[in-house]
């Protein structure tokens, strides 16, 4: 079992409110990812779960038992640190065995578990080496091995992949996912990388300034962001935002600013009835913009001038000037476009997002 519940968690560092009223239920066997920009309180929350940081107020419970006052060693968790924190004076074997030795396991059992973990991670031939003789990826594996030999109730990961180079990061990401599927242990994973969050998490918690912005499955965050911050943070390239004024003409709603004037689709218009005459934020993802063709008849369209063309092979990113604002569109690699071209761009009507200009909450 490994169910973690956070109830009304707050953390103050002197006058700084680092974590603000976090309420979460992390289910058994779930892979939960905390994501957010640096300083958003995600690592502090993780450290409070680990018991490395005292809680200012609130309750953390693991499998129904409040662990607020328990020392890290008594919480039955294992943690993988960003810098791996391998003990430099011990061999790989001793690094992995340390936690079991501290818990007074029998030598035979220690041996069995270390070898088993080493086999899972493919580091059996490294067992006699010292950490400084290992590459970054190997150290990462040893750090993982040290966590899994303990068979803990919960794994905590603090940005474990951020010290690896890009290629290795992708590879280790897949391995982490595979490892989780194999072991089925509850995992709480902190990262600032939204791709890691989307690919690894069963559910994702988006945090900003110590507050939880949204909790949900990756696609839920992508398709129905709760506010402008989540919308901009999840997805790459980031969602385009432009401030528009809502007006009514001939019974339908129009969103317009200096560069575009579009008729809002009925479904969106329904939600915006109360905002007529006011300014709202219109959001549309780059992948929901296309070069307008005959298929887009009746879709909201606007004119744009191409400023930069980024060829990525699988797609083309167009940086376009739309009135006063810049928008990015991700279009088919077959599109024949050049810098300076004037284009008619269509939006997929079902994929429009609107946010309140003041509260930034989704409307």
């Amino acid at each position: 079992m490994g169910q973690v519940v956070l109830k009304g968690i707050n953390k103050f560092f002197d006058s700084v409110h680092a974590v603000n009223d976090v309420n979460l239920q992390i289910r058994d066997k779930e892979f939960m990812v905390f994501v957010g920009p640096s300083g958003c309180g995600k690592t502090t929350t993780l450290r409070m779960i680990a018991g490395l940081e005292a809680i200012s107020s609130g309750d953390i419970s693991i499998d129904g038992n409040v662990v607020n006052e328990l020392a890290p060693m008594d919480r039955d968790i294992a943690m993988v640190f960003q810098n791996y924190a391998l003990y430099p004076h011990m061999s790989v074997y001793d690094n992995m065995a340390f936690g079991l030795k501290m818990r007074k396991f029998e030598k035979r059992e220690i041996d069995k578990r270390v070898l088993e973990a080493a086999d899972i991670l493919g580091i059996r031939e490294l067992l006699t080496r010292r950490p400084r003789q290992l590459s970054g990826g190997q150290r990462q594996r040893v750090a993982l091995g040290r966590a899994i030999v303990r068979h803990p109730r919960v794994f905590l990961f603090d940005e474990p992949l951020s010290n690896l180079d890009a290629k290795l990061r992708v590879q280790m990401r897949v391995e982490l996912k595979r490892l989780h599927l194999r072991l089925g242990t509850t995992a709480i994973y902190v990262t600032h990388d939204q791709v890691e969050a989307m690919t690894l998490g069963d559910r994702v918690v988006v945090m900003k300034d110590g507050m939880v912005q949204q909790v949900g499955e990756p696609l839920e965050l992508y398709n129905q962001p709760a506010n402008k911050f989540v919308a901009g943070f999840i997805g790459s390239p980031a969602m385009n935002f432009t401030a528009v004024t809502v007006t009514e003409a001939n019974g339908s709603l129009i969103a317009e600013n200096s560069g575009l004037r579009i008729k809002l689709p009925d479904e969106t218009a329904q939600r915006l009835r109360g905002h007529i005459g006011r300014e709202v934020m219109l959001g549309v993802r780059p992948e929901d913009l296309t070069v307008a063709g005959s298929a887009d008849l009746g879709h909201p369209c606007f004119d744009a001038v191409i400023e930069v063309v980024e060829q990525l092979g699988s797609e083309i990113l167009l940086d376009m000037k739309v009135g006063e604002s810049i928008m990015v569109a991700s279009v088919e690699p077959t599109a024949r476009v050049r810098v300076g071209d004037k284009l008619r761009v269509a939006m997929r009507p079902s994929r429009l997002h609107v946010f309140d200009a003041q509260t930034e909450a989704a409307i």
């Binding site: 020392a71 890290p72 060693m73 640190f81 810098n83 003990y87 430099p88 340390f98 501290m102």
Partner: protein
């Protein structure tokens, strides 16, 4: 060229006193006291090396006891200072308690109080506890400057040990005490060694306290014994003096060369994880 020539000059400059000490200690008295304007005056070399001065040291003076006293005192005071310094350094750098920072600075400031001032009140204390003329008068007073020194050095070293190592150990099931014992201290061994060597050298060479607190010849340490027993009035027994200095510096030299790698690693404060 730009490397070796200055290096050679520098070496020559550094090693000359040592060379002078060695050559004087094996030179017969007849050569030592030969006037500078005599025909066969040759200050930099001798053709008749002798061990007479060394023999004189061990047979006519209490040099062997001085050597033993110095070793015992230096080792004991170093051990006391290291234990205190390691714990104090750990506490000041790792445990968050009020005034930890100012306490650290305070400890460093006590190190800056000159011994030439401190020996006056210390002499009073030594007299009150009737420790005068015993090795304990030095073993217990040397830590007054060794502990601040070790604490300061260890503070810096502990700060360089990533705190995640300790946190990881505590999650792995170690108590704070075990995490310190099994993880932090082994990682800090180079720092502890360099603090130890420094403390050992400082107490080995210490002069003022040893001069003031010890009076009988058989209790003296090497630096004090050699200078007080081999300089009588204005007569300098140069041969035995230099032989004493040479033999006295050998243990320190051995200590340095034995730990030199750890020592350098300690000073540059590198923990590779």
């Amino acid at each position: 060229m730009f490397f070796y020539v200055p290096m050679a000059l520098f070496l020559l400059f550094l090693l000359f006193p040592f060379y002078w000490m060695v050559i004087t200690s094996v030179r017969p008295d007849g050569e030592l006291y030969r006037p500078w304007n005599s025909v066969n005056y040759n200050p930099f070399w001798t053709w008749k090396p002798t061990l007479d001065h060394v023999r004189y040291l061990f047979e006519e003076t209490l040099f062997a006891s001085w050597l033993w006293n110095t070793t015992f005192i230096a080792l004991a005071s170093t051990a006391i200072s290291l234990v205190c310094g390691v714990f104090a350094g750990y506490a000041l750098s790792r445990l968050n308690f009020p005034f930890a920072g100012s306490l650290g600075t305070g400890i460093f400031i006590t190190y800056l109080v000159p011994q030439t001032l401190l020996f006056i009140p210390l002499a009073e204390i030594i007299r009150n506890y009737r420790l005068g003329d015993t090795p304990w008068s030095l073993i217990l007073t040397y830590p007054t400057f060794l502990i601040p020194f070790c604490t300061w050095l260890m503070m810096g070293y502990f700060k360089a040990v990533p705190k995640e190592l300790e946190e990881c150990a505590r999650i792995d099931g170690a108590s704070r005490w075990q995490a310190m014992l099994y993880i932090v201290i082994p990682v800090a061994i180079p720092g502890i060694l360099s603090a130890g060597i420094f403390a050992f050298t400082l107490s080995w060479n210490e002069f003022i306290y040893a001069l003031v607190f010890l009076s009988s010849p058989e209790q003296k340490t090497v630096p004090v014994g050699v200078t007080s027993e081999l300089i009588r009035g204005d007569v300098f027994y140069w041969g035995p003096l230099m032989a004493g200095a040479l033999l006295g510096s050998i243990p320190v030299a051995i200590a340095y060369s034995f730990f030199v790698e750890h020592y350098v690693a300690g000073l540059t404060g590198s923990v590779k994880g």
